[in-house]
């Protein structure tokens, strides 16, 4: 990534480059001289004002460009981090040194223990100041917030390699890796509402009992699940997580029934979504309703 902004930084020597205005003042008439001096002063002020306006414009343009570059770079860093360290490894491996994130580095407010480094404090102050002045706060710290973690155990068919746990939410798989302690790979998912929703999930077969899937949820959904009746938008990993917890006690039938129900609901929602996005379908539906209304009005 190039640091070159392809812009000409505002030139501080700009005023010096301006040609000095030559004003001929008659030495024979004092009144005329006074008038000319006053006139020159106003003219100079106007010129100075124009110069300052021009500088103001340049600074604003430069600032906008740098801001855009900064956020692009930050977004790039987030992408790199999610690719390099998927999931929530640091939770399972507390001895592993936590990877430094940009929030730490730049001193962003992230809910973690503040580092006492004066450099970070400095950056933090600058960041706060920037946000105050720019009024362009972005939720860049959301993904760094400390997340709640919960684990659920789900019985699964040994032949099923999809590592899918139906829990009432939609997920996007973004990675899979083989871990040292388990022959079965571990899959990483993000909530489909990401990046606005920070919840992550990782699924892996239990090393002790391969017929059980272990799903670990990190974070709290900040939206309703696909099934609105699930209710609590802030429930961790969805309310069906609680149902899945019960499964651990051996209520397999209840789980299967619940899974079928959830799957149907998800399917219905997906179908409804795709249909309402289809303009032909919407037009046909509108025509059908209009036709029905007209029929009723005739009778």
């Amino acid at each position: 990534i190039s640091l070159n902004l392809n812009i000409n930084a505002f030139d501080r020597s700009f005023p010096a480059k301006l040609p000095e205005e030559e004003v001929k003042v008659s030495t024979s008439a004092g009144v005329e001289r006074k008038w000319l001096v006053k006139e020159k002063s106003a003219s100079e002020l106007r010129e100075e004002l124009n110069r300052v306006y021009s500088e103001n414009k340049k600074i604003k343009e430069t600032l906008e460009t740098v801001c855009e570059k900064y956020y692009a770079l930050h977004h790039h860093l987030e992408k790199l981090q999610s690719r390099k360290s998927p999931g929530i490894d640091h939770i399972e491996q507390p001895t592993k040194k936590r990877k430094q994130d940009p929030a730490d580095f730049l001193g962003f407010p992230n809910g973690k223990t503040e580092n006492s480094s004066s450099n970070q404090d400095h950056h933090h102050q600058q960041y706060e100041q920037k946000n105050q002045l720019l009024s362009c706060k972005r939720p860049i710290t959301d993904s760094f917030n400390k997340a709640k973690v919960s684990t659920v155990y789900v019985p699964a068919d040994s032949s099923d390699t999809s590592l899918t746990v139906k829990d009432g939410y939609q997920w996007r798989k973004y990675g899979q890796k083989v871990t040292r302690d388990n022959p079965s790979p571990r899959a990483y998912f993000r909530c489909s509402f990401a990046p606005s929703c920070p919840v992550k999930k990782k699924v892996q077969r239990s090393a002790e009992d391969p017929s059980i899937l272990v799903a670990t949820y990190e974070g709290t959904h900040n939206h309703l699940g696909p099934n609105a009746s699930e209710g609590d938008a802030t429930s961790q990993g969805g309310s069906s997580t609680v149902t899945l917890d019960m499964v651990h006690g051996g209520q397999r039938l209840a789980l299967e029934k619940n899974e079928r129900g959830t799957m149907q609901e998800v399917l219905v929602q997906q179908m409804a979504s795709s249909l309402t996005n289809d303009s032909n379908f919407t037009a046909a539906l509108a025509a059908a309703i209009t036709g029905r209304l007209m029929e009723q009005s005739r009778t």
Binding site: K38, S41, V52, N56, K60, P102
Partner: protein
């Protein structure tokens, strides 16, 4: 606009430019820090 109004406006824009320059320095510094971090 008379001279006094011009001076007032000049002061206002100069003050705004000063703030903007400070902001620019801050963002620029953060940008460099992030770039360095990525390297």
């Amino acid at each position: 606009q008379n001279a006094s109004e011009l001076r007032e406006e000049l002061n206002r824009v100069n003050s705004e430019n000063k703030k903007l320059t400070e902001m620019l320095a801050t963002v620029w510094e953060n940008y460099h820090a992030l770039h360095h971090h990525l390297e």
